[in-house]
Symmetry: C2
């Protein structure tokens, strides 16, 4: 039976300590998902899920998202082979974000650039300007070979 | 000189590999911020920043957010004493999310419930229903004593 989510309670205590998972989707019907490596805790990506993606994730154990750019359900890794198996799902105090601990198949790369994590750059500010520094250069696959040339 | 952010490039390669930090705020002027403990990597919270909060965070080294419920700038920990000192900031491939590694002062608690992390509950689904299980009960402060009774 596919998982269906009940509407969130208006009672703060119920949201924070009750036993029902009632995700608070935003006005676009989406919830933020933070994805970390179940092994070492590395932050891999941040994405969004609609109710369909969240239910599929819970029911299949494979992470599904909603692609805001493509406006469609997105089974992460379907093209690249880098599927994410969910080890644990958590939610936060007000149930408007979820945290997935996953193991990544295939190239063990989450970012479409071929890197392990989407967060491969640090941010620094000086003299009123903010700049980036790439701290993870290692690409586990070549995007052109996986996704084709744009 | 306060940090000011340039507009994001429409060039994907520039966004992904360029040296300018040009955060992609959403239609509400917000960017998602993932916050982890700089020590052990534990996910502490997910919040949002507007340009003012992001610039203040970069310029002061203390995490500032935008409270969507209060519709105002939010210096995290100002009431509780649990200020967040930023050790590192990263952004993701398309610059629409940021990751803060922080050390937490005061009670070493991030969640307003007094817990170390807002993600104190696991989610599981069975028979079409999704339920929650509290896995971190430890409260480092009593909310009533910090915030007053509601």
């Amino acid at each position: 039976m596919p998982t269906v989510f009940a509407s969130p309670s208006s009672d703060k205590a119920e949201l924070e300590t009750g036993s029902a998972f009632t995700p608070r989707f935003d006005s676009n019907g989406l919830i933020t998902a933070v994805v970390t490596d179940a092994g070492d805790g590395m932050l891999l990506m941040v994405a969004h899920m609609n109710a369909e993606a969240l239910a599929l994730t819970l029911d299949t154990g494979i992470a599904h998202y909603y692609s805001r750019s493509r406006k469609s359900l997105w089974k992460k890794g379907e093209t690249s082979g880098n599927l994410q198996s969910v080890v644990e799902i958590r939610t936060d105090c007000d149930q408007d974000a979820i945290w997935l601990k996953v193991t990544v198949a295939g190239h063990a790369a989450t970012c479409h650039t071929g890197r392990r994590s989407c967060f491969y750059r640090t941010v620094a500010a000086a003299d009123g300007q903010a700049s980036l520094d790439i701290v993870d250069h290692e690409q586990h696959f070549h995007p052109d070979e996986i996704y084709g040339k744009n």
